[in-house]
């Protein structure tokens, strides 16, 4: 199948939507499809071979923050040319309501369109001067995908109609193997955390409280923390006697992130809420880390009700400390959970998710088209 993917946000700025499109494109290529991605990017930017740049994005206020978007006649021309050259069987746009390439592509393309909604948008203006144009472009979308329940609610509310729920995937092979960081996990054992340090819902403070309890019991146990945020501010929250056993890496590269998952005896996801899926959890599972996670509905589902990882009562530091203690004392249980996590995460592997996405493509293809015929044959 010839598939055109449209990314609304600047390719060279890291972001969830961009990563999603990259992983999806590569998984679809692995399945044997011809894939082209158009994205805002400088013409001289270093891009994967399947990405076509649509020119520099402009920073504008959108949806409560500043986004880098492409719009205007020049971008529209690029999209038109890309669509003409690509001769796509199906066009897959991401975040179709964002005023950027996705919306332009919907407007230009005349074939079947699938749209994926990622975020919860907060469009406030119900009556909008450009509303008719927005509506008529979005009406051409015949298949909708939401990556989470929150995204689905947004979609139903703002665009009307229902959507298929297909969660974010994780490229399992990228996480399976890595060397631990030098000196980790060490003799005394190590606990890991990955996520924004200054975002309360990621639950780092719950873990720090639990570590005060469990760190007092085990004199050599260490805590490894990676993720964006102010490391000095976090260090100040740790009592002085414990401070040299809490290692704060700050923001790390993709490669180091994989190493972090392999550097700890127990990986902890103490989120207190708001997670629709928990990509960090899926990545830790792909790396085969023994996991202790809060018992949010989403986490419970991903961890097979506790069979692929230990669950503790969300927000309860004492319960978390006890769960970590049990795990550290029981190497056999750790090995068992690690194996179970590796198996369970296959459901979220991009190779499988991409097949689900292709099913949506097939559903919107006109029955008479060559691509549909090829699928049926």
């Amino acid at each position: 199948m010839r598939i055109g993917l449209v990314c609304p946000y600047s390719w060279d700025v890291p972001g969830g939507v961009q990563e999603h499109i990259r992983d999806l494109a590569e998984a679809l290529i692995d399945l044997g499809h011809a894939v082209s991605v158009i994205s805002p990017a400088d013409d001289d930017a270093a891009l994967p071979s399947y990405v076509v740049p649509a020119g520099r994005a402009v920073a504008v206020p959108y949806n409560g923050s500043v986004a880098r978007l492409s719009f205007g006649p020049l971008s529209a021309n690029r999209v038109r040319r890309w669509i003409r050259d690509g001769n796509f069987d199906v066009l897959h746009v991401h975040e179709p309501a964002a005023p950027s390439l996705s919306l332009i592509a919907c407007w230009v393309f005349d074939g079947p369109i699938v749209a994926t909604v990622h975020g919860a948008t907060t469009r406030s203006r119900a009556l909008h001067a450009a509303e008719p144009m927005l509506r008529s472009a979005l009406e051409k979308v015949s298949g909708r995908i939401a990556v989470s329940e929150a995204a689905r609610t947004t979609l139903v509310h703002h665009l009307g109609g229902d959507a298929v729920l297909i969660p974010n995937g994780v490229t399992v092979s990228r996480f399976e193997k890595a060397e631990p960081l030098a000196g980790w996990p060490g003799e005394g054992g190590a606990i890991g955390f990955l996520g924004r340090m200054d975002e309360p819902r990621k639950g780092l403070s719950v873990l720090l409280r639990a570590f005060e309890v469990i760190g007092a019991e085990r004199q050599a146990l260490r805590l490894l923390v990676a993720g964006p945020g102010d490391t000095a501010e976090v260090a100040a929250r740790v009592p002085p006697w414990l401070r040299d056993r809490v290692v704060l890496l700050g923001q790390v590269s993709e490669a180091v992130k994989v190493q972090v998952y392999h550097s700890v005896d127990v990986f902890c996801a103490p989120n207190t809420g708001g997670e629709s899926f928990g990509i960090v959890l899926a990545e830790a599972m792909a790396a085969g880390a023994p996991i202790v996670a809060s018992d949010l509905d989403a986490f419970r589902r991903v961890l097979r009700g506790g069979r692929a990882g230990e669950l503790f009562s969300s927000g309860d530091a004492a319960d978390l400390a006890a769960a970590i203690g049990r795990m550290l004392d029981d190497p056999a249980r750790r090995a068992m959970l690690s194996a179970a996590a590796s198996a369970a995460v296959r459901d979220y592997d991009w190779a499988k998710i991409a097949r689900d996405v292709v099913k949506v493509y097939e559903a919107v293809l006109p029955a008479s088209s060559d691509a549909a015929a090829a699928v049926i044959a």
Binding site: V60, S70, H128, A129, A130
Partner: protein
């Protein structure tokens, strides 16, 4: 002798009085000028966002640009404290949309007949952008003179400005064409053509 002294004193008081009231009157006129300039600037900005909204709903542009311009024009008109930022954001978006070398060729005719509505709308936008540019220049001039006049020792000492609030500069990005693309020899903003 004492009569001469009194006369001189009276003359000094009279001259001082006349001078002070002349200064006060000048300050008053300056404040009035600031207010007039401000009203003209507001009117120009509102006209600019109106034309932007009209373009956004005309079907002339792609939907992404239309939605964004409509959003930003609305923000600019309704912004209270962040007015300068909102107007600058609108300028930047307009510049992105209209500054390409082949803008008029690549515009969608949409519901408009090419050569009729489209050109008129763009010309109108260009003219309101000029108005904003000029009105802002004049307003900031008036503000600069007024601030200087109010800073003079006499004005400060005698509080000649009374309760009038200190006027503030209005700083926005109002250059519609990217640097180097404007008409040579003029500092007027120009849509590339």
């Amino acid at each position: 002798m004492s009569l001469a002294v009194s006369l001189i004193l009276i003359a000094i008081v009279a001259i001082t009085g006349v001078y002070v009231s002349w200064r006060a009157g000048r300050l008053d006129r300056l404040h009035a000028r600031v207010e007039t300039a401000r009203a003209a600037l507001d009117a120009a900005l509102v006209r600019r966002s109106s034309v932007t909204l009209e373009i956004a709903s005309s079907g002339l542009l792609d939907p992404a640009a239309s939605v964004l311009l409509a959003d930003l024009a609305h923000d600019a008109r309704s912004a209270q404290s962040g007015r300068e930022l909102a107007e600058s954001d609108l300028t930047r978006a307009l510049r992105t949309v209209f500054s390409g070398p082949d803008v008029r060729d690549s515009l969608e005719p949409g519901q408009l007949e090419p050569g009729q509505g489209a050109d008129e709308l763009i010309a109108e936008l260009e003219s309101t952008a000029h108005q904003v540019f000029i009105a802002r220049k004049f307003y900031n001039d008036a503000v600069a003179v007024t601030i200087a006049a109010r800073g003079r020792p006499l004005a400060r000492m005698l509080r000649l400005a009374g309760g009038a609030p200190m006027p503030e500069f209005f700083e926005i990005d109002d250059t519609l064409a990217p640097a180097g693309m404007g008409e040579q020899g003029t500092d007027m903003p120009h849509l590339a053509s």
